[in-house]
Amino acid sequence: MMCRTIVLMVSAACLYAMPACARTPAPENAQVYFIWPGDGAVVHHAFWVRMGLRNMGVAPKGTDVAGTGHHHLLVDTELPANMDDAVPNDRNHLHFGAGETEARIELPPGRHTLQLLLGDKDHIPHDPPVYSKRITVTVK
């Protein structure tokens, strides 16, 4: 009983006093990257994005398994300023909460940036956050 109370108090402290400790830990050597397209690639308006992940696994949203997360594709936007919040869900932040590792996306002609960011079961980036290099593609 005492033990449980302490656990609850610690949990509460995590939630309210130190939000950072609520983030899901990621392996130090975890790496997310684009298998395809490569940086600078010229692509058609509809193309497959292949999401690569090393030293970590993929799990659908809501899945609480250590060392896993799911992919988010950031299109023409920068990394979220606050990594303690869930990744936004809009046309610049595509969620792959069903455990997808590839996606067919469509973009208008021109230059676009792409970046991958892994999220935990609640779409919150890990600690440390696992994100790829930001690449540029040109849609012809």
Binding site: L53, R54, A59, T63, V65, G67, A98, G99, E100, T101
Partner: protein, 145 residues
């Protein structure tokens, strides 16, 4: 009518193989358009001996989930080395010819002795049982020398 026949057949099959909880009739259905492939190495590739070989698991129209996780249209990867793919609805063995990636991995590195080897991917559901229809890649051959 057809549905009820299939259901009946599944029930009969299930009853016939009651010893196995994952009989053919109980296999997890997979999306019709699920597509599994080996992104790397390529079929016919010659690879250097004594160096780890990275293998990329490609999957379209389906997602990845760790073992024991039940989530619609997901499964986890299994890499078959020098062996044939199991039939639909069969539990995938776990041995040196059948590598399991139950932590949701989407790539790996392996080492192979010199010679010709076959590689093939097959998806397993949360219990390591193949889907119905089975989601299986083309079998490729690589030469290590």
């Amino acid at each position: 009518m057809r549905t009820s026949f299939v259901t009946l057949l599944a029930a009969v099959l299930g009853a016939a193989a009651a010893a196995s909880p994952y009989a053919a009739g109980a296999a997890t259905p997979a999306p019709d358009n699920a597509y599994l492939y080996i992104g790397w190495p390529n079929d016919g590739q010659v690879l250097a001996a004594n160096r780890p070989i990275r293998v990329w698991f490609g999957l379209r129209n389906m997602g990845v989930a760790p073992k024991d996780i039940k989530f619609p249209n997901t499964g986890h990867h299994h890499l078959l080395i020098d062996t044939d793919a199991p039939a639909p609805g069969v539990e995938i063995p776990s041995d040196r010819n059948h590598l399991h990636f139950g932590a949701g991995q989407t790539e790996t590195t392996i080492e192979l002795p010199p010679g010709r080897h076959t590689l093939q991917l097959v998806m397993g559901d949360e219990h390591h049982v193949t889907f119905d229809p089975s989601v299986v890649s083309r079998k490729i051959t690589v030469t290590v020398k």
